[in-house]
Symmetry: C2
Subunit: 461 residues, 2 copies
């Protein structure tokens, strides 16, 4: 026996675009976070904007939740159907609609994977420069819906900065076109940026026009270890103050390096380490790279490495890409609560000192690494899932660390989004505008059908 | 005899913070556009956020319009009190509140003039990189309220891209803090970007935190003329495709150069001319500059100049800075209707061909120049103010040119804002989301007291 709205959906979509099979529902009940799973009642795979309109109109008619998702790589439960209903799996809308090379633009459907897009753009000597580290598994739609950041935000900003225009389906099934194909436009209110980062709660992204840059073919990497975080930050600030124009400045703390060494059998100095990537030309890179090495030495680095071939660069980056897998491997059968705070650059040493204090006071390891060039750090609190006191401790320590970031003038989430996990902190961080956010949600989605339970659990004051 | 709300205002503010003098009201009745003047009933100069709150609360109580303004350099009537009421002159709130050098941030009041801010930042070897050409006379508050662009948007983006956080007073007198001092933040809906570019219709900006870059001390300039616009665009695209990383790529058309030559007694080739400015280091600039010159030659430039000293660079830039004064000087006692369209880069030749066609068909000169690097052009339609048929022709030609930009996938306003002059075009450009914009206005300003008559003349559907 089927619910009336499911019958109506079945009438609209062929069998291969809709499923109520347990296996499919289960797959769509979780993301890459440790938030509890929530089963949808049905999964629909739209093939085009009109399919999305059909689903949303039915959802509107029956007041059924619609939760859009890509590949569910989110870390805050952003795409979990917490109130059941329909999951709109956007992964079959994964085409490059139009490469507009002379405009430095590409029009894409939301389901395309980041690295796949850049593979197709490379043929045109173009690239999307602001992908997060998950670009090999994450969809562009999810990245826009969460305004993803990443390692290259130092030079290129975040995903949202590169979105020129969006086609979105609103909660009443209407289609809107936000932004412009003109690189600059101030025609009316900036609804495009309101949609970006709204986690599917204000509308469903069905098409995006992205701004591109010339393909970067020449890179240079410097890795430098420092006796303490303060010196690593001083080097970072000196690099940012120079005209060396880094594309990425990452930092791993000593605790993280320890895990990486154990995991990769490597012998990195177990000290705060920064990695600086430069983008440029074969002519200018050696000189800029040397300047960076010299800055690191002046700032007290105990060891400086550099690389300018793809192989060498990738080999060094492994210390960063292996960081999370190394932490996971060291804690089998454990849950990991991720932090995603951002603080003003000057407050990084104070935040990292607090991480160290929390770790020492609680006799736990709190590996921390991230984007020192823009003050965004991820800390990882490990707990055995069958041990309630460890679960509670992880939650309580996470709350303390986020509170510290806010106290230092920072944010509870720099790039992962609010989802389920950051709602309490959002209410604290934006106490004076939270009600306004809720009012906008009510205007755009009066029945509360779009990804309900995210960003705010309730729309009450 | 004074209206009750004016009596209430007088009771709140000392004499030197409030005026109803005819001279003051007249000064605040116009901006830098040719839109008709509108007198306010009173002008108030707030000294702090609390003063703004006081004014807005009274305006809310009596449902009186409040129009914030800076130095009224807008070109679309953005700050004209079309319904009378109170003008809130923000120019006395002009302090640098805090330079946070280690954070690459500055907190400012809205009334500070752009170049004055950069003068104060230079001491810290920092600068705000995205100022419009009017930075020597325009306030940062006005720039944010209109999301101003400018010559350096090619490299640095627009003003709004550099705003990290805003303090604003909403229509009910409440104070909100939008954005974050963290460089990246995805905590909730992006209300900061909703406020940016809303032209004072959604709230009044009382404080802004801006992101900064290291002070640029070394520049290089290339100026190149081309036989036609298509070749100038091809050179621009080749420059953008190279790794030369231009900070500005401007273009003046032949008609504009003619005015400049007459005005400055100069002898520029009367051909489409592009100016490319590079920012970098004394080590890398010569090589990057030579690459640009070589690109221009390859693309068929008839004449290439370059400069690397401040004096030489400023001397060449005069062709651009003199452009508008040259057009004005050639048409004494005339009005000038400004265009501010943006088109995708590939559509620039089509747009410029249409400008030429319009000029020829109507036997008028339509000088056009602007930011070729991001497809944003200003055209100038001159008319004798005492000649109704010339006034009507200017309006009709402007409408045709904007319609062409929209037809080419562009925007009716890339950086001047909607104000009064672009409302009809906005309704066309964003037909499918205009109603949503109006709904948001109604949520944020239910009594319609904040800068009424701008962006939309009416909130009706």
């Amino acid at each position: 026996m089927s619910l009336p709205w499911i019958s109506d959906l079945r009438a609209e979509f062929p069998l291969d675009q809709l499923s109520i099979e347990a296996e499919v529902l289960t797959k769509h009940s979780h993301d890459s976070s440790t938030h509890p799973a929530h089963l949808p009642e049905v999964v629909v795979w739209p093939l085009n904007t009109n399919d999305v309109v059909k689903v949303v109109r039915l959802a509107d008619k029956y007041a059924v939740p619609v939760t859009p998702c890509g590949t569910r790589t989110g870390l805050e439960g952003n795409a979990l159907p917490v109130n059941g209903g329909i999951v709109l799996d956007m992964t079959r809308m994964n085409k490059v609609v139009e490469v507009r090379a002379a405009d430095f633009q590409v029009v894409v459907e939301p389901g395309i994977i980041g690295t796949e897009l850049n593979k197709q753009l490379a043929v045109h000597h173009l690239m999307f420069p602001a992908f997060p580290a998950s670009a090999h598994i994450a969809t562009i739609g999810g990245m826009i819906a969460n305004n993803a950041g990443g390692m290259y935000a130092v030079k290129y900003g975040v995903v949202g900065n590169w979105v020129l225009a969006l086609e979105s389906v609103l909660a009443d099934g209407s289609i809107v076109h936000l932004g412009s194909h003109s690189i600059k436009s101030v025609a009316g209110y900036d609804l495009k940026n309101l949609m970006i980062g709204s986690e599917g709660t204000l509308g469903i992204i069905t098409k995006a026009t992205l701004k591109l840059v010339p393909l970067v073919t020449s890179k240079y990497l410097v890795a430098a270890s420092f006796p303490d975080v303060k010196k690593a930050l001083d080097a970072t600030l000196a690099i940012l103050h120079s005209q060396a124009d880094p594309a990425a400045v990452e930092m791993l703390d000593a605790a993280t390096i320890k895990y990486v060494n154990a995991f990769k059998h490597s012998n990195w100095e177990e000290l705060p380490t920064i990695l600086i990537e430069l983008h440029g030309t074969p002519e200018d890179l050696p000189q800029r790279g040397k300047k960076i090495q010299s800055v690191c030495q002046t700032q007290g680095s105990t060891s400086v490495k550099s690389a300018d071939t793809t192989e060498e660069i990738e080999a060094i980056w492994e210390v960063r890409t292996a960081a999370y897998p190394a932490i996971v491997a060291a804690h089998p059968d454990s849950g990991i609560l991720p932090g995603d705070i951002g603080v003003p650059l000057s407050q990084i040493p104070a935040f990292m000192a607090y991480v160290a204090q929390i770790a020492q006071e609680n006799q736990v390891s709190v590996p921390t690494f991230g984007h020192i060039g823009d003050g965004n750090f991820h800390f990882w609190l490990v707990y055995r899932q069958d041990n309630p006191s460890e679960v509670n401790r992880a939650k309580s320590l996470a709350a303390k660390l986020v509170a510290k970031a806010l106290e230092l003038g920072g944010t509870c989430t720099a790039e992962h989004g609010v989802g389920i996990g950051k709602q309490a902190y959002l209410a604290h961080e934006h106490a004076d505008s939270l009600q306004l956010m809720k009012q906008l949600k009510q205007v755009l989605d009066p029945k509360g059908i779009l990804n309900p339970g995210k960003i705010f659990a309730t729309l009450d004051a």
